[in-house]
C-alpha cells in the first residue's frame, strides 16, 4: 500500500465520519471500496495497515444522523475489514461488529427503510463470511430470518443480493459441515473447489455444537424454500420467482448430501408448481430443473430419477408457448441426454411441421398438435413461436442423427417453404387444410420471420447432406433479393446466406446459367437501389463472393465464386467503380474494400496490371485526398495494405509492372494518410509503414516483427533470422529506401501526434527501427564508430507541423546534453540550422534541412515516451491517492464556501 495514501487515510476517515455530504461526487465511496477490495485481494490486512479504520467504523456506527450512503459504505467496509479471522476477532472484541450488523440498531434509527442500508448490510455480511467464525456469528445472531425476508424486498437489488447471500450461507454451511464430519476425501475436494476462500477451515475448531447450528440453518432455509415455492395467490408470484432463482443457484453448486436433501425437500413443491402451470414461472422452473440436471451431468453422476421425471414433465406441458420455451431452454444447455434432446427437437419442429405441411415429424400426439395449431392461429404468438423454433433449428441439425426426427435436408426444405410463405407465393401442401391456411396467413409479409428464417438457413448450410439443396436455396434467395418489398435487413441476410451456402457447398455444378443470369440481374438492380443500406450490402456481397473458393465442373480447377457465378471482374469491377461515386460514405468504403477483395486474386497471381487497375488506383488516391468522410479514406489505406501484403507474401512472383505502380502510390498514401485528420486513417497508415518495415528488414538481425515488447520470452526464434549476417551496406540501402518511401517521415509525424493510439504505435515502430539500425545497447562511443556509414542516411525535416515538434525535441535534448557536457553532445544534430534562427534561414532559403536518421532515433528518448504513452491518459486522475486528495479538497472547500464554485467546476 502506498505510504502516502496511508498517511492521508486518517484525515479522510475524519472527513467522512464528520459529514458525508461533502464528497467530490457520488462515485467516490464506490471508488474507495474498489480500492479496499483490491487491497484485500492482494492479501493486505486492512486493520493492520490502516488502524484508523476501526475507529472510523465505531464512530460512524454510533452516529445514525449521518448520510445513509456513508453508513452503507461503513457496513460494507466492515465486511472487508473482518475478512480475516484475526481482524474479525479484533472487531468482535471491541464490540463494533455486533453493533454494525445489529438490525434493531438500524431499525430503531429509522434507517432500515433506506435500501442502501439494507444492501450495505447484506454485502458487508457476504464479504465477511469467508471463515467459520463469521458463519457462527451469523448463526448465533440469528440473521437467517431477516435475510429470508429480504429475499422478497421491494428493491430488486436488495432482493437479488439477499438471494446470493442465502446461497453463499448454505454453501458455506455445506463446507463446514463436511469438515466437521471429518470426511477427508470431501474436504480435500472442497478446498480445491472453493479456491482457498474457506482455506482456513482446516485449523478451525468446529465443535459438534456449531455443527448442529449449521444443520439448523440448512433445515431452516430448505423449509423456507419448500414453503414459499408454491404461490398461494397471484401476487406471490414474485416470491416464487425469487425462490426459484435461489434454488437454481443452489442446485448448480451444492454436492450430494446437501443436494439430495434440497431436492428431497422441494420435490413435492416443484411438482405442485408444475401442475399449477404459471406461465411466468416456466423459464425459472426450467432453470432449476436444468441446474439440477446438469449438476449430475458435470459430476458424472447418473441423472437423478426425480429430475428426469420433472424434465419429462416439462417437455410435455400442455400450453404450447411454455412447451416451446422449455424445449428451447433444454436445447440451449446442450446436455448429453438423447431421449430428452430428441423430444425437445420434436417439440421445436412441431410449429414448422404444422405451418409448412411437410411431414417433419412422423407421429405427434394429436392433442399437442391441435393445441399448437390453435396457438399458431393467433398472429403475435405465431410469429414469436416460429422465431423461437427457427433460432434453435441450426443447433438441432448438429445433433446426432438418431435424435432428429427427420434428416437435416428436410429441415432445410421446411425453412425454404416457410420463406416462400412469407413472401406470399406459396403452393405448399399446407394450403389443403383451412387451419393451416389460417396459420400460414399470419406469416405472410412478416419480415421478422423472414430474418429468423434466413439466419437459420445460413446456419443450416453446414449440416450434413444439405448440399443437394444448393440450387433450390439459390433460386429462393435470388427471389428474396428480387422482391421489391424485402426490407434492407432481409436483403442483407439473403446476401450473407448466399455467400455462406456457396462457400460451404464448394461444388457449384448444380447452378445453371439461368441461375447466374438471375443473380446478375438482381445484383445489378440492387446496386442501384434507392436505399443506401441495400447498395452497401450489395457491394459487400460482391467483395465477399470474391473471397469464396469454389470448384467449377467445367474447368475442374478452383476459382473464386465471384468468377464462377458472376463472371468475375468484368462484371463486378464496373459496378464497384460506380459505387465509388456513391453519395453515402459507407457505400464508398464498402466498395473500396470489395475492390481490394476482388483484385486480391490477380495480385497474388502476379498478373500484369490493366489500364483499369491503374485508373482505380488514381481514383482511390483521389478519394484519400478529397473524400470528406473518414470511412472511405480508411478503406483506401486498407486497400493498399491488402495489396502490399499480398505482393510481399508472394514476393517471388512480384511483377515489376505492378510494383512500379504500387510503390509510388504507397508513397503518396503514406504522405497523405499521415497528414489525415482522422486518427484511424493515421493508424492504418502506420500499419502500412509497418508492412514496409517488415519487408525491408525481414531476416535482419535485431528486427522483431511487430511489437518488440510483446515478444514472448520463450518464443522460438526461427533460425532463418540468424542466417542473414549483419551487413551495414544493406542496412544503409534499406534505410535510404525507407526514407524515400516516406516511412520515416510518417513515423516521426505519428510520434508527435496528439492522438495517443497513433503516437503509441509510431513510437513502438520507431523503437523497432532503432533496434535494427542503431541499437542503444552499443553505447554511444561504439555506436559512432560502428555506424559511421548508417549515420550518413538523412531525412528531411520540413519547417512546419510535426517536423517543428521533432526539431524542438532535438534541440532540447542537445541543450541537455551540452549542459551535462556529454561526449556526443555537439554531434546530436548535425547542423546548426536546427536552432530557431537556422530554421528560419533554411525556410527562407527554400531548402529543407536534413538530419541523420540514426541520430534522431537515438536522441528522441523513445523508451521514456513509450512509457508515458502506454499509460492511459487518466492514470493520474484515477489513482487512489488522487481520490483521497479529492475527498479532502472537497471537504476543505466546503468549510470555505467561497471556493465551492471553483471545486464544482474542477470536478467536471
Amino acid at each position: 500500500m502506498d505510504r502516502e495514501c496511508v498517511s492521508l487515510l486518517p484525515r479522510v476517515c475524519e472527513v467522512l465520519a464528520a459529514s458525508g455530504s461533502s464528497l467530490p461526487d457520488d462515485t467516490s465511496l464506490e471508488k474507495l471500496l474498489d480500492w479496499f477490495t483490491g487491497l484485500t485481494k492482494a492479501g493486505t490486512s486492512l486493520l493492520e495497515s490502516c488502524p484508523c479504520l476501526l475507529e472510523f467504523i465505531s464512530t460512524v456506527v454510533h452516529n445514525t444522523a449521518l448520510d445513509p450512503s456513508i453508513l452503507s459504505f461503513t457496513l460494507r467496509l466492515t465486511g472487508f475489514v473482518a475478512v480475516t479471522e484475526v481482524a474479525f476477532k479484533v472487531l468482535q472484541e471491541s464490540s463494533v461488529l455486533d453493533l454494525v450488523f445489529n438490525l434493531q440498531h438500524w431499525q430503531e434509527a429509522g434507517l432500515w427503510e433506506d435500501p442502501c442500508i439494507r444492501i450495505g448490510w447484506i454485502q458487508g455480511l457476504r464479504t465477511m463470511m469467508q471463515h467459520p467464525k463469521a458463519l457462527s456469528f451469523f448463526v448465533q445472531a440469528d440473521f437467517l430470518q431477516p435475510l429470508l425476508q429480504l429475499q422478497t424486498d421491494k428493491s430488486l437489488f436488495v432482493a437479488s443480493a439477499a438471494n446470493q447471500m442465502l446461497a453463499h450461507v448454505l454453501l458455506s454451511c455445506q463446507s463446514v459441515s463436511s469438515v466437521g464430519s471429518n470426511d477427508v476425501d470431501e474436504e480435500g475436494e472442497d478446498v480445491g473447489r472453493s479456491g482457498g476462500s474457506i482455506a482456513d477451515l482446516e485449523y478451525s475448531a468446529v465443535t459438534v455444537e456449531t455443527n448442529q447450528d449449521y444443520a439448523a440453518v440448512v433445515t431452516a432455509i430448505s423449509e423456507c424454500l419448500k414453503k414459499s415455492l408454491v404461490p398461494r395467490e397471484n401476487t406471490q408470484l414474485h416470491q416464487s420467482l425469487q425462490i426459484l432463482k435461489l434454488l437454481a443457484l443452489l442446485l448448480a453448486q451444492t454436492r450430494p448430501p446437501l443436494w439430495e436433501k434440497l431436492l428431497q425437500m422441494v420435490a413435492d413443491s416443484v411438482d405442485e408448481l408444475l401442475v399449477a402451470g404459471y406461465s411466468q414461472l416456466i423459464l425459472p422452473l426450467m432453470d432449476v430443473i436444468l441446474a439440477a440436471y446438469s449438476s449430475c451431468d458435470v459430476n458424472r453422476r447418473a441423472p437423478d430419477q426425480r429430475v428426469s421425471r420433472l424434465l419429462s414433465f416439462m417437455l410435455n406441458i400442455r400450453k404450447p408457448a411454455d412447451l416451446i420455451q422449455a424445449a428451447a431452454a433444454f436445447l440451449r444447455r446442450g446436455l448429453h441426454d438423447l431421449v430428452h434432446t430428441a423430444q425437445s427437437a420434436r417439440v421445436l419442429l412441431l410449429p414448422l411441421d404444422i405451418i409448412t405441411g411437410l411431414n417433419l415429424l412422423t407421429t405427434t400426439a394429436d392433442e399437442q398438435r391441435f393445441l399448437m395449431m390453435e396457438q399458431l392461429k393467433n398472429k403475435t404468438s405465431c410469429i414469436s413461436l416460429i422465431c423461437v423454433c427457427l433460432t434453435n433449428t441450426p443447433q438441432m441439425t448438429l445433433m446426432a442423427a438418431d435424435c432428429l426426427p427427420c434428416p437435416p435436408v428436410l429441415i432445410v426444405t421446411a425453412v425454404l417453404s416457410l420463406l416462400k410463405l412469407c413472401s406470399g407465393d406459396s403452393s405448399s401442401p399446407s394450403s389443403s387444410s383451412s387451419g393451416c391456411r389460417e396459420v400460414s396467413r399470419n406469416v405472410i409479409g412478416s419480415s421478422k420471420v423472414q430474418k429468423c428464417a434466413l439466419d437459420a438457413l445460413t446456419a443450416l448450410s453446414g449440416s450434413p447432406g444439405v448440399e443437394v439443396k444448393l440450387a433450390e436455396v439459390f433460386t429462393l434467395l435470388v427471389q428474396c433479393l428480387d422482391n421489391p418489398d424485402s426490407d434492407p435487413t432481409v436483403l442483407q441476410k439473403s446476401f450473407q446466406a448466399l455467400v455462406q451456402w456457396m462457400s460451404v457447398c464448394s461444388d457449384l455444378s448444380s447452378i445453371t446459367d439461368q441461375h447466374r443470369q438471375d443473380l446478375l440481374q438482381v445484383v445489378r438492380k440492387r446496386s442501384c437501389d434507392i436505399r443506401w443500406e441495400v447498395r452497401d450490402s450489395t457491394v459487400e456481397f460482391l467483395g465477399r463472393l470474391a473471397g469464396v473458393r469454389v470448384i467449377q465442373t467445367t474447368a475442374e480447377e478452383a476459382s473464386d465464386a465471384s468468377v464462377a457465378v458472376l463472371g468475375g471482374c468484368c462484371f463486378t469491377t464496373p459496378l464497384l467503380r460506380a459505387a465509388l461515386q456513391d453519395t453515402e460514405s459507407y457505400v464508398r468504403a464498402s466498395a473500396i474494400s470489395a475492390l481490394a477483395q476482388t483484385l486480391a486474386a490477380s495480385w497474388q497471381q502476379g498478373a500484369a496490371l490493366t489500364q483499369e487497375q491503374t485508373e482505380i488506383v488514381n481514383q482511390l488516391l483521389e478519394v484519400l485526398s478529397w473524400d470528406t468522410e473518414g470511412f472511405a479514406r480508411r478503406a483506401v489505406v486498407r486497400y493498399f495494405i491488402a495489396w502490399l501484403s499480398s505482393m510481399s507474401s508472394h514476393s517471388c512472383v512480384q511483377s515489376p509492372a505492378s510494383s512500379s505502380l504500387l510503390m509510388p502510390s504507397v508513397r503518396s498514401v503514406l504522405s497523405r494518410g499521415s497528414a489525415d485528420l482522422d486518427w484511424e486513417v493515421k493508424v492504418h497508415t502506420l500499419e502500412l509503414a509497418e508492412l514496409l518495415l517488415d519487408e525491408a528488414f525481414s531476416g535482419q538481425r535485431g528486427y522483431t516483427k511487430g511489437n518488440p515488447t510483446q515478444t514472448h520470452p520463450y518464443a522460438v526464434i526461427p533460425n532463418t533470422l540468424h542466417t542473414r549476417t549483419h551487413n551495414e551496406e544493406d542496412v544503409v540501402g534499406v534505410l535510404n529506401s525507407l526514407v524515400q518511401w516516406g516511412v520515416v517521415s510518417a513515423l516521426l509525424s505519428g510520434l508527435v501526434d496528439c492522438d495517443r493510439p497513433v503516437a503509441l504505435r509510431a513510437c513502438r515502430l520507431l523503437i523497432t527501427l532503432r533496434e535494427v539500425v542503431c541499437p542503444l545497447s552499443l553505447g554511444a562511443l561504439d555506436a559512432t564508430a560502428a555506424m559511421a556509414t548508417v549515420a550518413r542516411v538523412t531525412c528531411e525535416l520540413p519547417g512546419c507541423g510535426w517536423a517543428r515538434e521533432i526539431r524542438k525535441m532535438l534541440v532540447m535534448k542537445a541543450k541537455d546534453a551540452n549542459a551535462e557536457g556529454g561526449v556526443s553532445g555537439g554531434e546530436v544534430v548535425n547542423c546548426d540550422d536546427c536552432g530557431e534562427a537556422g530554421q528560419e534561414a533554411a525556410s527562407v532559403g527554400g531548402q529543407t534541412p536534413c538530419v541523420s536518421v540514426c541520430e534522431v532515433l537515438r536522441s528522441l528518448d523513445l523508451d521514456e515516451r513509450l512509457d508515458v504513452l502506454t499509460r492511459s491518459s487518466d492514470h493520474v486522475h484515477n489513482s487512489p491517492l488522487s481520490l483521497l486528495q479529492d475527498i479532502l479538497t472537497a471537504s476543505s472547500a466546503r468549510s470555505q464556501p467561497d471556493t465551492q464554485q471553483e471545486v464544482i467546476a474542477d470536478c467536471y
Binding site: 407465393d425 406459396s426 421489391p484 418489398d485 438492380k525 440492387r526 442501384c528 434507392i530 460506380a578 453519395t583
Partner: protein
C-alpha cells in the same frame, strides 16, 4: 333504400343510390380496357402496323366502353345529382349527361374538375389528331363480328362500346358541375344532405357522406392512408354510418407502393447507367407527381444529374402548373411550403434547372431538344394512342432501353402485344396507393359501420392467388357483395322523420309531465309536406257555414271538431288500489297473478278487474253503478293529458 350497380369494375365504380326520394349517382368511371382490342394509333404511318397479318386497320376511331347501357336498369334522366369522388372516376361523364335527358347537377371539388377536364382533353386530343377518313359502323353486328380477327371476334358486349366523345360534349358535361369544398354541406331537396370528405388518394379526391336527420350513408371510393401529396384522409367523419359503400381499393394488393417506387428508381438508374432510355407510360396527373418527387431525391445519389427527363402530353404544362396552385388541397408539409413561399412540389426546381422539360407533343420544339439517353413520361398507359406509340416504335428494338409500367389499370402484357417481338426490357411496377385489405379492415374496425356494401371481388381472394386469404374482406357481419347490374335493397328501415311545428301551434300545447323530465302533450294539427319538409299547422277554423237556401241534410254540416278525449297514462299500483277498494267497502278480493299483470276477482260482486300493462278491463255484468264507481277508482290513479 336501393342501390343500383351499373359497373362491375371495383375501381371504376358507377352506382345509383335511391334514398329518401332522391336519386344520386355515385361516380361514373369509364372502363377503357376495351381499347386493348384495337391496334395502336400511330402518329405517323407505320408500315409494320398496317401490314400485320390478320389485323385490318379499318375502324380507326377508338371505341371506349361506357360503364353500361344503364337505360335497362334505370332511366338516366331521373338522376338528380352525380357525386364525383376523383378525376379518374368521372371519365364517363359526357356519356351520362349528354343525350340522355339528364337535367341534374354534378358535384365535385375544384381539382377534380380541373384535372378531370385535363384528362378528358388529353384523350380527345389523342383521338382527334389522328383522324380517320372512314369509320366502320356495321361491324358490331353479331354476324359480321364473328368474321373479325382475333380479339375483336371474341369480345363481348361490343354493342356497349361507344365512340370517343368530342371536346364540345366534354365542355357541356363539365358545365353541369357545381364546385364544393371538403366538409361543405349541400342540401338536396331538403331531403338529404351530402358533403365531401378528403380521401387522401389524389388532388381533391373525396369520399361522400349522404345523410338525412336519422340515417347516414358513407361512400368510400379511392382512398389512401399513405402520406403522398394530397391532404390526408378524413376517417373520423365516417364514424357511425348505417351503411358504408366501399369501392376503389387497391388493384394491386400484393404490390406495396413503397417497394414499387424503389423498384422504379433502381430500374431507371440501371438502364441509364448502361446507356439506355427509359419510357414511362403514365397518366398526366397523379402518381407522376410522386415519381418526379422521388426521382428528384434519387437523381443525386444515382448520379443521374445530367440525364434529361421529358414529360410529353398535350396537357403537360397545365398539369404541372395546376399541381402547384391547389395548395389548400395538399398535405400539410406541402401546404406550409407555400407560405415560405416555395413551390410545394419539387418538380418546379427540376424544371428550373432544366432537368425536367415538358412538351405538348413530339412535334415542334421537342425534336430539336431531344437528347439520349433520357427518361420520357408520356401517355396513354394503354399504349394504344398518344405519343407513347411513337416511342414504342422508336425504342422497341434495342435491348438497352426499358419501358417501366407504373399505372395499374392495364395488363402490361396485353398493352405490349401489338409491339411484339420486342427487344426492349420491360418492367412492371404498378403503383397504386389506394387502401389495401389490411388498411381497410383496420379502418372499418375504427369507424364501425352497421352494414358494408362492396363489389363481390372484395369478398374472395384474387383468382390467381386463391391461397391468399389475407387479400379479402373478412367482416362480421359479412359485407353485402354487389356485381354489375345488381340491385340491392339496403338493409335498414327508415323509422323516424323530422316534423316541424309552427310557433302558434306550439304555443297552444299544454304539456304535462308524466315522469321527471318527460312531458307529453297532445296535438291536433294538419301535416303539411313540401320539399321533403313536414310541418304541423293548426287546424283551419271551419269557414262559417254559408247560409244555404237549400237545406239538404243536417248531416252534411262539416263535422264539429270535438275536443279529443283525454289520454290516460300511468299504472295502477296494486296495493294502493286494493286499499281504495276496501275503503269503498269491497273487501273480498282475490288477486291472481298473470303473465301481464293481475286479475282481481271481487267475489261478492261477481266482478273481474284485469290490470295489465297496456289496458285495464272491468268485467261487470248488469251493475252499471258499480262499474262507474270502479272506473272512477281506477282513473284516480291515472294521469290525464
Amino acid at each position: 333504400m336501393k342501390l343500383y350497380c351499373l359497373s362491375g369494375h371495383p375501381t371504376l365504380p358507377c352506382n345509383v343510390l335511391k334514398f329518401k326520394s332522391t336519386t344520386i349517382m355515385l361516380d361514373c368511371g369509364l372502363d377503357t380496357t376495351s381499347v386493348l382490342n384495337f391496334l395502336p394509333l400511330p402518329l405517323v404511318h407505320s408500315p409494320r402496323l398496317s401490314k400485320l397479318p390478320g389485323w385490318i386497320s379499318k375502324d380507326g376511331t377508338i371505341n371506349l366502353e361506357k360503364v353500361l347501357d344503364a337505360r335497362e336498369l334505370l332511366d338516366l334522366s331521373t338522376i338528380d345529382v352525380i357525386l364525383i369522388s376523383n378525376y379518374h372516376c368521372m371519365m364517363a361523364l359526357p356519356y351520362i349527361t349528354e343525350h340522355t335527358g339528364f337535367t341534374g347537377t354534378v358535384y365535385a371539388t375544384e381539382p377534380t374538375l380541373q384535372i378531370g377536364r385535363l384528362l378528358m382533353e388529353e384523350v380527345v386530343n389523342f383521338m382527334e389528331r389522328v383522324p380517320k377518313a372512314q369509320s366502320a359502323t356495321c361491324w358490331k353486328n353479331k354476324e359480321i363480328q364473328r368474321m373479325l380477327p382475333g380479339p375483336l371476334k371474341d369480345a363481348v358486349d361490343v354493342w356497349t362500346w361507344k365512340r370517343c366523345y368530342s371536346m364540345q360534349e366534354v365542355n357541356s358535361a363539365l358545365s353541369k358541375v357545381q364546385l364544393v369544398g371538403y366538409s361543405q354541406k349541400v342540401e338536396l331537396f331538403g331531403a338529404v344532405q351530402v358533403s365531401p370528405l378528403s380521401s387522401g388518394y389524389s388532388l381533391g379526391s373525396s369520399n361522400w357522406i349522404i345523410q338525412s336527420h336519422h340515417e347516414k350513408v358513407s361512400y368510400v371510393s379511392g382512398s389512401s392512408l399513405l402520406t403522398t401529396h394530397p391532404q390526408p384522409m378524413d376517417q373520423s367523419s365516417l364514424k357511425n354510418s348505417d351503411v358504408l359503400i366501399l369501392t376503389g381499393l387497391t388493384q394491386m394488393p400484393t404490390a406495396n407502393p413503397d417497394g414499387m417506387l424503389g423498384e422504379f428508381c433502381s430500374n431507371l438508374a440501371m438502364t441509364i447507367r448502361a446507356g439506355g432510355n427509359v419510357l414511362v407510360p403514365c397518366y398526366s396527373s397523379g402518381v407522376i407527381y410522386d415519381l418526379l418527387e422521388c426521382l428528384y431525391q434519387f437523381i443525386e445519389s444515382a448520379s443521374l444529374g445530367t440525364t434529361p427527363f421529358y414529360f410529353i402530353s398535350p396537357v403537360a404544362n397545365s398539369s404541372l402548373e395546376f399541381s402547384q396552385i391547389f395548395a389548400e388541397w395538399l398535405c400539410h408539409n406541402k401546404q406550409t411550403k407555400v407560405y415560405l413561399p416555395e413551390p410545394p412540389f419539387p418538380h418546379a426546381e427540376l424544371i428550373q434547372t432544366n432537368k425536367l422539360k415538358h412538351y405538348p407533343s413530339i412535334h415542334g420544339d421537342f425534336s430539336s431538344e431531344f437528347r439520349q439517353p433520357c427518361v420520357v413520361f408520356t401517355g396513354h398507359p394503354s399504349l394504344r394512342f398518344g405519343d407513347v406509340v411513337h416511342f414504342m416504335e422508336l425504342w422497341g428494338k434495342s435491348s438497352l432501353n426499358t419501358i417501366i409500367f407504373t399505372e395499374p389499370d392495364f395488363s402490361y402484357l396485353d398493352a405490349l402485344a401489338p409491339y411484339q417481338p420486342l427487344a426492349m426490357k420491360c418492367v412492371y411496377c404498378p403503383i397504386d396507393t389506394r387502401l389495401n385489405f389490411h388498411q381497410v379492415s383496420k379502418l372499418l374496425k375504427e369507424v364501425q359501420p352497421l352494414h358494408v356494401v362492396c363489389p363481390e371481388q372484395y369478398t374472395q381472394p384474387p383468382l390467381t392467388q386463391s391461397h391468399r386469404s389475407d387479400l379479402m374482406l373478412e367482416l362480421q357481419p359479412p359485407p353485402m357483395p354487389y356485381r354489375r347490374c345488381s340491385v340491392l335493397n339496403l338493409p335498414f328501415r327508415r323509422r323516424y322523420e323530422r316534423v316541424y311545428i309552427l310557433p302558434e301551434l306550439a304555443n297552444s300545447l299544454v304539456p304535462s309531465e308524466i315522469k321527471p323530465g318527460v312531458s307529453v302533450a297532445t296535438v291536433s294539427a294538419v301535416v303539411h309536406s313540401k320539399d321533403n319538409k313536414h310541418t304541423l299547422q293548426s287546424v283551419p277554423k271551419p269557414p262559417p257555414v254559408a247560409p244555404s237556401k237549400k237545406r239538404k241534410r243536417v248531416m252534411d254540416e262539416p263535422p264539429v271538431v270535438l275536443a279529443p278525449k283525454p289520454l290516460l297514462s300511468g299504472a295502477v299500483p296494486l296495493e294502493a288500489f286494493l286499499a281504495t277498494l276496501q275503503k269503498h267497502g269491497i273487501t273480498e278480493v282475490k288477486v291472481e297473478e298473470t303473465a301481464d299483470g293481475h286479475i282481481l276477482h271481487l267475489q261478492a260482486e261477481d266482478t273481474l278487474i284485469q290490470l295489465e300493462e297496456d289496458g285495464t278491463h272491468i268485467v261487470c255484468d248488469n251493475n252499471e253503478p258499480l262499474r262507474t264507481t270502479l272506473r272512477d277508482l281506477v282513473l284516480r290513479f291515472l294521469q290525464k293529458l
